[in-house]
């Protein structure tokens, strides 16, 4: 391979890794937020990603609510609006199901409600998958935008080497970074953020301080679902999806959260970014069929060498 091709290959893998990584990062934040604040391992997070995809699809194409925005803007506004919709779904799931096996109700029990959480979230996952199959059918969908198959071509300045920046992924990446930043600001500088962090650190003490821990847990669960749904809506602009799509991404979410440092919300973003980067960049050196295997090799290495996760120490704990 000549140097020109090598430069082009490396830079295109790099940009693909970073753009996809940022979207994965947002996806991981949702799970990280739920775990970081509530200590609930949510196995249904993949299905909430799927709900985000379908919410965006129906906003853009189903009811034609966003049709007036056109195919270049509509899908991204749809992705953002999928967040509040799935936030409500998440809050309801918490109110009627998750709250029964988490929070103050299970504090002090032998397993802190973890076995119940495991069964409940797995059950929700199965119900959403199969319910999705009944409601949406098995035909694959996509939120079609011409931007998903067009790129900004940037000349590198070495021969004809060109970097292709996929327009849909660039916009999705920008939205993901902005959403992550917004969440960081909310968590750091607002009263809600402080209450959420207090509820995460010591729910009993937070109760004594007048914080309605159950209410803030519900908000955290809804926010976690909504953020993952925004990531789902963004992914729907360049992927095809169906009711079972969540299964393919839930493993990536867990890898990202553990890589970034369990309990660290912004660490989850960096973890997701690392997963996306490793997934894309490894295909340069190894057969693409080992892309996902590489994620786990890196994952195991980090667990071995730095059990607290890549950003566990430096990242702000929720």
């Amino acid at each position: 391979m000549d140097i020109e091709s090598l430069i082009e290959n490396v830079l295109n893998a790099l940009t693909a890794g970073v753009t996809i990584g940022c979207i994965y990062g947002l996806m991981c934040i949702g799970l990280g937020l739920i775990f970081g604040i509530m200590k609930v391992v949510n196995f249904a997070q993949g299905e909430l990603l799927m709900l985000g995809m379908f919410a965006s699809l129906y906003l853009v194409t189903g009811g034609g609510i966003l049709a007036f925005l056109g195919p270049n803007i509509g899908p991204f506004v749809g992705a953002l609006l999928a967040g509040p919709i799935v936030f409500v779904v998440g809050a309801l799931i918490h109110k009627f199901l998750i709250s029964r096996v988490s929070g103050l109700k299970t504090a002090g029990s032998i397993d802190d409600g973890h076995f119940g959480q495991l069964i409940v979230t797995l059950g929700i996952s199965l119900i959403l998958q199969n319910g999705g199959m009944i409601v949406f059918g098995s035909t694959p969908f996509t939120v079609r935008t011409p931007l998903s198959s067009s790129a900004i071509e940037v000349a590198v300045g070495y021969g004809d080497a060109t970097v292709f920046l996929n327009k849909a992924k660039l916009i999705a990446c920008a939205i993901a970074i902005a959403s992550a930043l917004a969440l960081y600001l909310v968590m750091e500088f607002t009263r809600i953020g402080k209450a959420l962090r207090a509820a995460a650190d010591n729910p009993t003490a937070a109760t004594y301080m007048g914080i309605d821990v159950d209410k803030y847990y519900r908000m955290a669960f809804g926010m976690g679902c909504g953020i993952t749904a925004i990531a789902g809506g963004l992914m729907a602009t360049y992927l095809s999806f169906g009711p079972f799509v969540g299964f393919d991404y839930v493993i990536i979410m867990y890898s990202g959260v553990v890589l970034g440092g369990i309990g660290s919300i912004m660490g989850a973003f960096w973890g997701g970014l690392t997963v996306g980067f490793v997934q894309q960049f490894s295909a340069l050196l190894l057969p693409p069929q080992l892309q996902n295997a590489m994620i786990f090799i890196v994952f195991l290495l980090i667990v071995l060498l730095r059990p607290q996760g890549l950003f566990g120490r430096s990242a702000e704990r929720a």
Binding site: E8, N12, P140, S149, S240, D248
Partner: protein
């Protein structure tokens, strides 16, 4: 309690005898099983096969059922193979346990699933017909498995020379560089083994990229980048689901590698599924050539029309055609066997050699299975996307259009 008198006993006996007589007269349904993915990434393929199979069942039953069995009706029992080989195998185990009186079955669309499920059906001595391509399916010495498609290795050996000739006929130079892109499912592995070991040396081709991925694809940048660097004359695309096809086609378009610049040759029925035009655009699909195991020919105009009317699908394609053909082949085997016993059906499938009836649904016009269970003389079909619709271009028995080769080559 009312005492039973002679009159009551006589009436009871008459009713009982009548019921027995009626039971003896009623022909029991002949049960066929269909095990295809109805959930997961391959569900759409399974649903299309299901549509074809249901139509065939209705056609046979409306025409008086199985004559050799006194007009017995066919009954289709449907099972979901799910999204993994393990689930397909579990479903097969449930199927044979729940339905011990099946006469035969078919499925599971994806070779990986068929390989797993046929381990179960063979042990249960249940005849099993499949459209799956992997040659491993009929390479295990099984007696009850019947493969209606040309095997993946046979398709590989047939497809590339057809493509090379197509290029020359269209006035382009004979291709010399090829790129291989595909997933690591069983049929793709079989296909590319033959391509690497036999076809590339025989055709004096140079492979400029060999990119095998695990489905589903998250992104195809690195794969397509390698093709951009290698500049092949044509690329073979052995993905196995429409979602991955969409990602590949969109990424090719993004890198300016549309089928007008570099010939794209897909493989398998999913490359011709109607929703591909919704997942990507008809402009991106324009000119994509697809090698597959069967396609409705000119002689199937009536069935095609009825299928479209019935299902509202835009065309009758590979997966639905196989669903239809499998049921029709079983009907012919049941007529041949004169029995619904699964062993007799298996014997009938091994011995029958027909050139009419369901044989008309294949371009080679014959149904005869060899000792391995492979259909003798099974021929590859080639279709090409034109104006948002796949049209058959090879062989002559089904072709309605001439193939078009990319201008730049």
């Amino acid at each position: 309690m009312t005492p039973i008198n002679r009159r009551t006993a006589l009436a009871g006996a008459t009713v009982l005898a009548g019921t027995r007589f009626a039971r003896a007269q009623a022909k029991p349904d002949v049960k066929l099983a269909m095990l295809v993915p109805l959930s997961g990434p391959w569900a759409r393929s399974g649903l299309l096969e299901q549509m074809g199979a249901r139509m065939a069942i209705e056609d046979i039953n409306n025409n008086g059922g199985i004559k050799a069995l006194g007009g017995a009706k066919l009954k289709l029992l449907e099972f979901d193979a799910g999204e993994s080989a393990e689930k397909a195998k579990d479903a097969a185990q449930r199927m044979v346990a729940q339905e011990p009186d099946l006469s035969g079955g078919f499925g599971c669309w994806l070779s990986t699933f068929t390989l797993a499920a046929t381990e179960v059906t063979e042990r249960a001595e249940l005849p099993w017909m499949t459209l799956s391509y992997s040659d491993l399916i009929t390479n295990r010495g099984f007696k009850y498995v019947f493969q209606a498609s040309p095997t993946a290795d046979a398709q590989a050996k047939d497809l590339v020379p057809i493509i090379m000739d197509m290029a020359e006929k269209a006035g382009a130079k004979r291709p010399s560089k090829v790129a291989l892109v595909g997933d690591n499912s069983a049929s793709s592995v079989s296909f590319y083994k033959a391509i690497r070991e036999i076809v590339i040396p025989e055709q004096k081709l140079i492979s400029v990229a060999d990119e095998i991925f695990t489905p589903p694809l998250a992104d195809a940048t690195t794969i397509v980048q390698k093709l951009r660097t290698g500049k092949p004359d044509f690329v073979l695309l052995q993905s196995t689901n429409a979602g991955d096809d969409k990602i590949l086609v969109d990424k090719f378009a993004e890198f300016g590698l549309t089928s007008q610049k570099m010939a794209m040759v897909g493989g398998g029925g999913h490359w011709c599924q109607p929703e591909l035009t919704k997942l990507t655009t008809k402009e991106h699909l324009e000119g994509v050539i697809v090698g597959l195991a069967n396609w409705p020919g000119k002689a199937m105009a009536d069935i095609t029309r009825r299928f479209i009317e019935r299902t509202k699908e835009p065309w009758f394609g590979h997966d639905s055609l196989f669903g239809y053909t499998h049921v029709m082949t079983y009907a012919a085997a049941l007529e041949h066997a004169g029995s619904a016993d699964k062993n007799k059906v298996m014997q009938a499938l091994h011995t029958m050699d027909i050139k009419d009836g369901p044989a008309r649904f294949f371009p080679d016009g014959r149904i005869k299975f060899d000792e391995k269970g492979r259909r003798v003389g099974a021929k590859l079909c080639v279709v090409q996307w034109r104006n948002g619709e796949p049209v058959p271009v090879f062989p002559d028995a089904v072709a309605t259009h001439q193939a078009v080769w990319p201008r730049a080559s």
